[in-house]
């Protein structure tokens, strides 16, 4: 048999091996936003609860870099990240919250239980801002520089080891 006839078999084995290898790899679960390094889009969101201001793009312009935290009272990982956001607040970071598909009573109840690290909370009832900034889930945290540009996206809850990472990025984009 001429060796040329082995080429299809070799190709088949190569692709079967490739497919087998891909099956052992972890599935890509996160969809990174393409809006990183882009200006934060214009938006105005109503207050998510009584007694606290809502959020607009202008809140992110001037002064220090800030964090934009997308969360919800119905989101379990958001409970886990609450103490770490509190630590960021203690470090002097301004965190502006966006409550997704949430009710004012539920927001107030969540803040009573798990603390309130936010200076403002806007209410995003129909994922308007989420879609504008390329967020695909709750929670997500964005670093916004003082010129109102999105500089970093953290997908998932903020954990103990995310805190120093975020502080470093906030310092870098100053």
């Amino acid at each position: 048999m001429r060796p040329i006839y082995l080429i299809p078999l070799a190709l088949f084995l190569f692709f079967a091996g490739l497919a087998g290898y891909q099956l052992t790899q972890e599935k890509m679960q996160t969809i990174p936003s393409q809006m990183v390094e882009q200006p934060l889009p214009e938006f105005t969101l109503a207050p998510a609860l009584e007694g606290m201001p809502g959020a607009t793009r202008a809140d992110f312009v001037g002064g220090q870099p800030r964090l934009l935290n997308i969360w919800a009272s119905w989101c379990l990982p958001c409970i886990a990240e609450a103490p770490h956001l509190e630590r960021l607040k203690e470090e002097g970071v301004e965190i502006i919250g966006i409550a997704v598909r949430d009710r004012p009573e539920a927001v107030a109840d969540f803040l009573d239980r798990y603390g309130n690290p936010y200076t403002k909370i806007g209410s995003d009832d129909i994922s308007e801002l989420m879609l504008e900034i390329g967020a695909s889930g709750v929670p997500e945290t964005y670093v916004i520089d003082a010129d109102g540009n999105i500089r970093y996206q953290h997908i998932g809850d903020v954990r103990a080891d995310t805190v120093p990472q975020l502080l470093e990025i906030l310092e870098d984009v100053r």
Binding site: I31, R101, D109, S127, E128, L131, S136
Partner: protein
């Protein structure tokens, strides 16, 4: 006795209250489950929604998904179509934010070009082999006659 019954009932009720609080109880976006009045525009929107990928349930189109986020995306598509935007504009608005990931319509880009190039390459190779073989056969038969 009564006090302990009340306490038990409160505890029992509490067990149910907590998960209910944790539910997403917001009404869906206006155009999440409501069709556009104009059937032509609605058809245009549906056609687009069938080719946009749900971000929460990654193997469904937003037209097929009941995830709240897919509803919010349908609302965006329908209200933008109603406002006069073209399906192409809406698709690129989403691709700008989520990358090719959000679109089920394959497009040639820096990562997808091999998908389009490889079949053409293979067809070229097949054509080449065929031509050579046919050419050879023709010259062989030519030799006999």
């Amino acid at each position: 006795m009564i006090r302990s019954v009340v306490a038990a009932l409160t505890l029992f009720g509490g067990l149910f209250a907590a998960p209910i609080l944790a539910q997403q109880s917001m009404p869906p976006a206006p155009y999440a489950y409501v069709q556009l009045e104009d059937p032509v525009l609605e058809a245009e929107a549906t056609e687009l929604m069938e080719t946009l990928r749900c971000l929460k349930c990654q193997s469904q189109s937003i037209n097929d998904s009941d995830a709240p986020m897919a509803g919010d995306m349908r609302h965006q598509v329908r209200s933008r179509i109603l406002a006069g935007e073209s399906p192409t504009q809406i698709r690129s608005w989403l691709v700008e934010r989520y990358g090719d990931y959000v679109s089920y319509e394959p497009e040639v880009s820096s990562t997808t070009w091999p998908l389009f190039a490889i079949p053409l390459l293979l067809l070229g190779v097949v054509a080449l082999i065929l031509l050579r073989r046919l050419g050879k056969r023709r010259s062989e038969t030519g030799g006999h006659s």
